[in-house]
Symmetry: C2
Subunit: 349 residues, 2 copies
DNA sequence: GTGAAAGCGCTAACAC
DNA sequence: GTGTTAGCGCTTTCAC
């Protein structure tokens, strides 16, 4: 049947394209195997045949069908991105949480530069599971928490994945990259101390991801060093600005600290609001800083000092690792990147 | 061969999963045809068989392979997103251009809610073309410009697509949605007039997309109505804040207008900076506003009044249309959504 | 009402 | 060196 242009796009969708390997083979006067080998640099073909086939294929504008190729156990040229923090938040577009939007943008552009497409995938463990989910070449999972089911699923399926932020409780897992949170924490704390703060309160989130855990540990270490009593106020990420504002009351009631370090920008904005509303001046009476820069931090008055993540380097490292894994190589990992501290008015004395 | 669990994941990747239709068929004691029909609601099966097959499939955790299914001309459950403005900018993560990051986030979350995956795809007309690009069910193309090659390619391929913003020069094309730019333009202009502005300059970008064109037209209409002389300063989008700052010199040289309306937030921030640097007070001496809210607009001092886009409604409309197209139905389109004007200090008298 | 069989476009053994 | 052939997992005629 069908002796003209064969294939899906031929009789299926449009008018053009849908040129198949068959068409190229016929036109080049060779077998489809030859075409496949020529275009994939496999097998043993004479340089001449190879060149000829390539020329014909180019001329016809042939593009191998990714589906058929994928079906044959090759790779799809696409990786998935799962944002666990947003899964946890239950909202994929929370206002003012631009760190993730930036991460997505950077991930998309860098994937592209490496010839990969990026597919945004929601929590893989909850239906409806996106059809292509298990056909992707690999995954980037951001901020997995302890015993993360998404990680477990990928593991079970044998799908290569890397995590942005070490998966807590998995000391043997090495395929991750992240900013050096412990170093960032020391940086902020040193800055606060330099501004005269001694009694520093920490406001971490409740997700059990490496970010929360590592900051907390660095904070505790510092307290131990200084002989200071730790003051930790856990606050669920989802409570946002309001949660921070409400928490300010409790903090004040227990004695105004010299500084408050909030892990999320929204909490920091809320805490600062709450403090100010209670007559506690920032940075006059106490300092406020956040471990993740966000629009809320930048637009608060005074502007809130913040650790600015480094999505460009982190995504680059993650893709390096992931591509190595997909290629079956042993990646050089984990990799730590450097975040920057942005001193703003909220900690300026 | 292979009488255990067959299939790709079986002998290919992991340990688990990769349950194929064959496995289900064997376990249910029926043919694979029966399984296919039962699970897709096709063919003529007895209710009992159907139910039994479904039960077995569920129990086994069977998920049809999207690749194989796609190969057989079904749908992939995934749509592509092409951001033309960013293609034009040559930078997928420009600082402060958060409108697109928001759009991506909203598009991802809403697609998910409809059981679609979203794949970010770069300029389809430039190699390397992402392998899956032509296998996707449809596309959302944002801000296509006149004679857009991406649109032409999709058209030629017969791939369903919708555009965010009318494709200029294609009056017959109806599969688009967007904020009502003309209405937004009138809103801003009316606001500026209410603040006493009579001589208003317009700073559009140079991309020939509907957004630039429609604002310009609305502006010209207003000038005609009022008998005012139009003052238009075209400025390439990519020039960003610096471009705006530089332009301010030219604007001042030609006489300080009562107000400047910039289409991009970065231009507005730059123009305001440039004006201020030249001793032209904002909002004292002249007003500044932008047609697209951005971080630059919000964080400028004074904060710049801006039209805030409505990605939630727009993306919803786009997906409605796209899903209808994919289903072969005639969609209800085009659809206009409502943007909001945010009055800020830069236009407050 | 049910199932055998023919592919979708491609890759990879394995002959020639 | 090159081509034949057997599938990947699925959908879909078309016999039974």
């Amino acid at each position: 049947m069908r002796e003209t242009v064969s294939g899906r796009a031929g009789g299926w969708r449009g008018t053009d394209a849908g040129i198949t390997i068959k068409d190229v083979a016929r036109r080049a006067g060779v077998s489809i195997t030859a075409v496949s080998h020529a275009l994939n640099g496999k097998g043993t073909l004479s340089a001449a045949t190879r060149a000829h086939i390539r020329a014909v294929a180019d001329e016809m504008g042939y593009e191998a069908d990714a589906l058929a190729r994928g079906l044959r156990r090759s790779t799809m040229g696409a990786v998935g991105l799962v944002l666990r923090s947003l899964d946890a938040l239950g909202d994929y577009t929370p206002a003012g949480v631009d760190a993730f939007e930036r991460f997505v943008g950077v991930a998309a552009s860098q994937s592209l530069a490496r010839g990969l497409s990026l597919m945004l995938v929601p929590d893989l463990t909850r239906p409806p599971v996106p059809p292509l989910a298990f056909s992707l070449d690999g995954y980037i999972v951001t901020d997995p928490h302890r015993d993360d089911p998404v990680v477990a699923l990928l593991e079970k399926r044998g799908i290569p994945y890397v995590t942005y932020g070490r998966p807590p409780g998995r000391p043997d897992f090495r395929h991750w990259a992240a900013e050096d949170d412990a170093a960032s924490a020391r940086l902020v704390l040193a800055h606060l101390e330099a501004a005269g703060a001694r009694d520093i309160a920490l406001v971490p989130g409740t997700d059990a991801n490496a970010w929360n855990l590592d900051y907390r540990q660095a904070y505790l270490d510092r307290c131990a060093e200084r002989g200071a009593a730790p003051r930790i106020y856990e606050l669920p990420e989802r409570t946002g600005v309001e949660g921070g504002a409400a928490l300010a009351g409790r903090i004040v009631a227990e004695g105004v600290p010299d500084a408050v370090l909030c892990l999320t920008g929204r909490h920091a904005a809320g805490v600062q609001q709450g403090l100010t509303a209670r007559g506690i001046g920032v940075p006059g009476r106490t300092l406020v800083a956040t471990a993740s820069d966000s629009e809320h931090a930048r637009t608060s008055r005074p502007a809130i000092s913040a650790v600015e993540l480094n999505p460009v380097d982190s995504v680059g490292a993650l893709l390096d690792i992931l591509q190595a894994l997909i290629a079956g190589e042993e990646p050089d990992s984990p990799r730590l990147t450097r975040a920057r501290f942005r001193a703003r008015a909220s900690t300026r004395r």
